[in-house]
Amino acid sequence: MLLYPRLDNGERGYVRTMSAQARVRGVGRREEARERVVVRFAGDSGDGMQLAGGRFTDATALGGNDLATFPDFPAEIRAPAGTVAGVSSFQVHFASRDIATPGDSPDMLVAMNPAALKANLSQLKAGASILLDEDAFSKRNLMKAGYAVSPLEDGALRDFEVMRVPMTTLLLSLAEGIEGASSRDAQHARNLFALGLVSWIYDRPTDITVRWIEAKFSKTPVVAEMNLRAFKAGWNYGETTESLVAGQVHVAPVKDLPAGTYRTVNGTTATALGLIAASVKSSLQLVLAAYPITPASELLHELARMGRAGVRTVQAEDEIAAAGMALGASYGGALGVSATSGPGMDLKAETIGLAAALELPLVVIDVQRAGPSTGMPTKTEQADLLMALYGRHGESPVPVLAASSPAQCFDAALEAVRIAVRYRTPVILLSDLFLANSSEPWLIPEAAQLAAIDPHFAKPPNPDAPFLPYARNDDLARPWAIPGTTGAQHQIGGLEKADMTGTVSYDASNHALMTRLRAAKVAGIEVPDLRVDGDEGAQLLLLGWGSSEGAIRAGVRRVRQRGLKVARAHLHHMNPLPGNLRQVLSSYERVLVPEMNEGQLARVLRAEYLVDVRSHAKVEGRPLFASEIEAAILGELG
């Protein structure tokens, strides 16, 4: 049985624009179909917003919508409760068609306290819905959020459809009906109440959430019961409280998706799975060495649980050691990987340089975050491109890849390993915080369909012919002779090596030769041509890289819907660049390069191709938005 306090009048807690009222009154409850919806759950760090968002995502995926998510949380583990600094949020964008980004501006904001409202209000467009726990708008909480006057009283919300629900009161009375449930349990279940209500509004499947709650809290039956009832109460509240909840919004499942089995995946998991897949396809044991750093630690956590796949993880004493351990493992014939974020990349430079000189496989993953220095550890950016390309002393070219979407991290990780192993080289894979934390549906590939990676270890040499550690094959790659290979003992190191024999050499012409061989090897890496998605007669090309692909795709789509012509291409290989890039660049009158930095790719393109590309730069610690891309294109097409 559900307990509701009687609402004293139908209009209680009800602020709504005239048009919204008109929409609802007299015509019964709203039943609306929409192509796409953006929901943002926001609350204090302790309010369980990530959990609510995650559950909503899973239910939405099972409901057959395309989706993209974006969690956002404070850097402080326990930021002062109730303050704007402590607000944590989770945004879900879902649609009945293919979508590209987590959405710019929410259609529905769930605000569990005044700080959550304050932190997010400016991003809402007029007409958006706000669901809030009005019990949380106490004097004290308003003060902590920095509100002198309650936004519920001063008309600040007049442009929005506001659902003021006394969640705390409702849940406290709900707890009274559960043997052993405390008021604390009731407080903690507010997120599930909100989730239930939002699930009703958007008509999401409930089974999956119910099952999840049962499994998650199976050891604490009272908490399970509290959460289950809270979720159902939220759902029922939507169904029954006509005065407050306008009605339901339906987003139909996507129709034109490729056939197959899907799951949702975030960039971290996709990267981990990609590395494991690479380990399987190469028969090399995966050794991941890492030092804890936000946000890359998640990859360490994920792989640390993968013992059944033979993954060896090592938490190193520092970033330098992590890179060194990965390189040591590769030297021994394993697949050595190290993962970090910006500040850690600074420290790995010397090991990457050594790996370039040793010409051994090594994969270094940089989950970029806002810098410089500690910067904003929980905010995204893609400003490590120039460091990845050039951030080592000496002539030290290294292949650099960039993942473009959460699910694409899987392919990117496989590709990084393929290049590292085939060409005996360190490879830097650039991901970023946005990719790592965001999720989207993923058409699960079949293991058998993934291309094999042949480590091609050196065989014991013929005793009459000396082993030549720096002889090269057609790819200019040298033999990977792992310890244990009889007769192939050799000594490598950071000192310049003589061509073929690998002995230490200070010979002038040898150094020039080796420098050019190393460069030619990297420049000759097989990279697929850049594909252009372009309208016939388009004069503007948008060239992007990394995680902004979705935003660029969506921005281009919007411009096309206006009937304008534009072309778009996206780089996954940052070094070497695709062979047809010069030709692509010269095919357009103008090239616009949007990126979450101050124009790093633009600089590279200008230097490499003498093309006067324009830069659309954004460094706000937030992903690019489709609306910004749209505006930028419109500005160019003027």
């Binding site: 995926a61 044991q285 330098i320 030297y331 244990g484 003992q489 230490v504």
Partner: protein, 335 residues
């Protein structure tokens, strides 16, 4: 297995240390000792850092990696994680191990990684032409300390013990027999072995250890540590190491030493307290110095149980298992 000799471990690379450098003697001793391991050269790896000692790997006909400054212990740790079938040795110097690479050395020892670390201590930076090193003595005049070093030296033995090293020993470059004995003990030890080798740098810090290596003086200045034996030394002036009333260790003339108070060396003792007290004994610059194995205790070796299990798991984990893993989530079908 074929019988191995010293020649099997000599590489064809030309050795390029300065004439008279202590490194030659150490190299010869190590090459001569290697056959005792009964491990073929292709299963032995020397990982070295930067500095004169770092060149060591080029001169061994084993697998070798001359790595970057200070990082050899980390790289060797990664190698050991991937390959428990190898005999892995690190060669480092006082600057490499204790200055730029201090953190890696500490943590390799703390973890008890199956790696043997040979730390050549010449108390100077040789390759960079004579600056003070972390083991240079207070007041030492070098190019970087023209007014004399104002820093007290690091004590590698104490540092290793503090880091929890399970095997800690000290030997000296010019005593092949002693060095071979210590190498043997280190090789027999299952976890990390830290061997400090006092090494003469005739170019920048000549005779730093003359008092320990000179035939006449040596017997007066070496305090031999032998497990189970009372610690006594000195041919001309017999002395003994005794436990003083305040609990610390001291050196007294043998004639004044109460036999009961003479300390009996116990390298196998779980607690590192005796080893630490011995590390504080004597005077590395002028006086008597303990030589031998300070500590040799059994402890779980890093990754020993999991390494082979994980490699077996990696072998078993094929495409079918990968497919299962990829599907291990809420999935839905679109047809």
């Amino acid at each position: 297995m074929r019988t191995l000799s010293k020649a099997d471990f000599q590489s064809s690379n030309e050795t390029r240390w300065c004439p008279g450098c202590g490194d030659y003697a150490i190299l010869a001793s190590v090459q001569a000792f290697m056959p005792e391991l009964e491990v073929p050269p292709e299963r032995i790896v020397f990982v070295t850092g930067i500095g004169c000692a770092g060149r060591f790997s080029y001169y061994m006909n084993t697998y070798g990696m001359h790595a970057i400054h200070g990082r050899a212990p980390a790289i060797a740790t990664g190698l050991a994680a991937a390959r428990e079938d190898l005999s892995v040795w690190v060669v480092t110097g006082d600057g490499d191990a204790l200055s730029i690479g201090g953190n890696h050395l500490i943590h390799a020892m703390r973890r008890n990684v199956p790696v043997k670390v040979l730390l050549f201590n010449n108390r100077i930076y040789g390759l960079t032409k004579g600056q003070a090193s972390p083991t240079s003595e207070l007041g030492k005049v070098t190019k970087s300390t023209p007014g004399g070093s104002i820093e007290p030296p690091a004590n590698p033995i104490a540092l290793a013990l503090g880091a929890g090293a399970t095997f800690v020993a000290r030997s000296v470059d010019r005593d092949k027999e002693h060095l071979s004995g210590v190498l043997r003990a280190a090789a027999n030890h299952e976890g990390t072995a830290l061997v400090e080798i006092l090494q003469n740098c005739p170019v920048f810090n000549d005779r730093a250890f003359e008092h320990v290596t000179d035939k006449r003086e040596a017997s007066e200045n070496r305090i031999p540590l032998e497990h189970g034996a009372p610690i006594t030394f000195g041919a001309e002036r017999p002395r003994a190491v005794v436990r003083l009333p305040d609990g610390s260790l001291g050196i007294v003339g043998a004639e004044q030493a109460d036999a009961a108070a003479i300390v009996e060396h116990d390298a196998k003792r779980e607690s590192p307290d005796l080893a630490f007290a011995l590390s504080q004994l004597g005077d590395l610059t002028h006086g008597p110095v303990p030589l031998g194995v300070f500590r040799d205790v059994e402890a779980p070796v890093w990754g020993q149980t999991i390494a082979s299990e994980l490699r077996a798991a990696a072998t078993r984990f094929g495409e079918r298992e990968l497919d299962e893993l990829l599907h291990n989530a809420n999935t839905w079908r679109i047809s």
